[in-house]
């Protein structure tokens, strides 16, 4: 090995070591802990078996909860995409300065953590200082109830949380759209709605799919918003995992995480099969 190759070999070695610790290690620990049973008093592993998974699938409770969470997150993804595409199209057509301001605002709200987003929305939906308070004060509504915790509040905030990332991911693809395609369609007499559904959406099929996957992944692992703004019956699966971690039932929490991971991978595989195929080209 010559002198120039030595730093490269050292970099490879360090990166491989790093990957073992942060990428391979976590998955390995996830699997081994999920199949371990610890002594409740000492916390030491006493045996390796599938009892945690047997407990998870003892009845249909956790399977139903995973199904509910996957369905909820799929719904959030669809609504987010439904809002993100037209909104991003509007922002993409703005002048440079206005577009920059919008992008900075989107990135700023994208960077905000679930905790801060949930807290801000709790204030906004509270009776004492939020929208219900304003409406009640101005006589538009009567009553003194906060709008959270509730399923609609949780759903709206989860969509709000996902919207900036979806828009930021869609913006480059929308800016790359060839305007001559739309112009040709208008020349041929197509209406704005027809152009949107027949030209714009098919051209954005790939980016919309990728954005949908990332939006899905972003939401499936979160728990703060659903716990803070939803009722216990609305909570997502990650809340159970976090609660079992809080109460030191680590192997069971890990088994639940493992099940969630497998369910997510299966969903992504199905989504790839259904939506990820390239459209058949017209001959």
């Amino acid at each position: 090995m010559n002198k120039q190759q030595q730093p490269i070999a050292a970099t490879y070695l360090l990166l491989v070591l790093y990957c073992v610790i942060v990428s391979l290690g976590p998955l390995l620990f996830l699997f081994t802990t999920a199949v371990s049973t610890a002594d409740p008093l000492t916390g030491e592993v006493i045996r390796y078996d599938l009892s945690n998974f047997e407990e998870v699938f003892y009845d249909s409770y956790y399977a139903v909860q995973i199904g509910y969470t996957l369905g909820l997150v799929a719904g959030i993804t669809v609504v987010t995409l439904g809002l993100a595409v037209p909104l991003t199209l509007t922002i993409a057509r703005l002048k440079n300065r206005a577009r920059s301001a919008w992008v900075v605002m989107l990135l700023a709200s994208l960077a905000l953590s679930e905790v801060l987003t949930a807290f801000a929305w709790q204030l906004l939906l509270s009776q004492s200082s939020g929208i219900p308070g304003w409406l009640s004060y101005s006589g538009i509504i009567s009553g003194d109830k906060a709008w959270w915790p509730s399923f609609p509040a949780m759903f709206v905030v989860l969509v709000y949380f996902s919207l900036p990332i979806a828009m930021i991911l869609l913006l480059p693809a929308i800016r790359r759209l060839d305007p001559s395609l739309n112009e040709s369609a208008y020349t041929m007499g197509f209406s704005k709605t027809s152009v949107f559904f027949l030209v714009v959406l098919p051209s954005l099929r790939g980016p919309i799919f990728q954005t949908g996957i990332l939006t899905f992944l972003l939401n499936i692992g979160g728990f703060v918003i659903s716990q803070q703004l939803g009722k216990p019956s609305d909570w997502m699966f990650a809340v159970f995992i976090a609660d079992f971690m809080r109460t030191f039932n680590v192997p069971f929490a890990v088994a639940l995480s493992f099940c969630l991971l497998i369910a997510v991978l299966l969903c992504l595989a199905v989504a790839q099969l259904i939506f990820g195929r390239k459209p058949i080209e017209a001959s």
Binding site: Y18, S23, L27, S129, Q228
Partner: protein
């Protein structure tokens, strides 16, 4: 709290900066964010340079492996990295949270570094080689100056996300360390006080200032993959 607001003042801001539990949480968040964004950027730079030098399967696998934590569901990665930190004896330490955040964030500067490397013209690299520059000189005198704004932007994005990250910090902190998001979450759950809103405002302003800086440097569009 009441609507309409009564007796407006900056008392809650004074409270925030006078209360050691809030300031120490803020300090922990800043420290973790700065260190982990620097580490994440260094790892991302090394990975991106290897990939730029040669697009082999090994290098592609490295890119995938360092990006994996970002692609896993948040709770799954948080749980699994807490197991790793427990094994390494880092549970409940700043170092553990820094490890978790570094792992999560590498993907961000990696994307920006690769965008920056895309701007390096191969013809310039060849010219430098013809002029007798060594690989190290090409790296330090040609490549790094070109990609520096992209690295800075990637590091700043990572910094903001680390400052705001809750789930990993919560899982790895082991109830012994409070970052600002953990402090805000705990305060929300165990009794509301308007000082919380000050913490939120501090974060919003910090994010807006950093992102406005990135926009002002003129690299925002190319960082988002948009050609103007």
């Amino acid at each position: 709290m009441a609507f309409p607001p009564q007796d407006p003042s900056i008392n809650w801001y004074v409270n925030f900066f006078a209360d050691p539990s809030w300031t120490s949480s803020l300090f922990n968040s800043v420290l973790i964010a700065v260190v982990s964004s620097v580490f994440a950027t260094a790892i991302a730079l090394a990975t991106a340079l290897l990939m730029w030098r040669r697009q082999s399967k090994l290098n592609q696998s490295l890119v995938g492996a360092v990006s994996l934590p970002f692609l896993l569901p948040g709770i799954v990665f948080a749980v699994s990295i807490s197991l790793v930190t427990a094994f390494l004896g880092l549970l409940g330490s700043l170092a553990g949270i820094i490890l978790g955040h570094t792992a999560l964030l590498v993907a961000i500067p990696l994307v920006t570094a690769r965008l920056g490397l895309g701007q390096v013209e191969q013809i310039h690299v060849e010219a430098a080689k013809l002029m007798g520059y060594s690989e190290r000189q090409i790296l330090t005198k040609l490549v790094i100056p070109i990609i520096r704004p992209y690295l800075v932007a990637g590091a700043l994005f990572a910094l903001i996300i680390s400052m705001n990250e809750y789930i990993i910090a919560f899982m790895v902190s082991g109830f012994s360390i409070e970052t600002l998001p953990i402090k805000i979450y705990n305060s929300q759950r165990y009794g509301f006080e308007p000082t919380l809103s000050v913490g939120t405002m501090v974060y919003m302003l910090f994010s807006l200032i950093v992102l406005s800086y990135i926009a002002a440097t003129g690299k925002l569009w190319s960082l988002l993959g948009i050609k103007e």
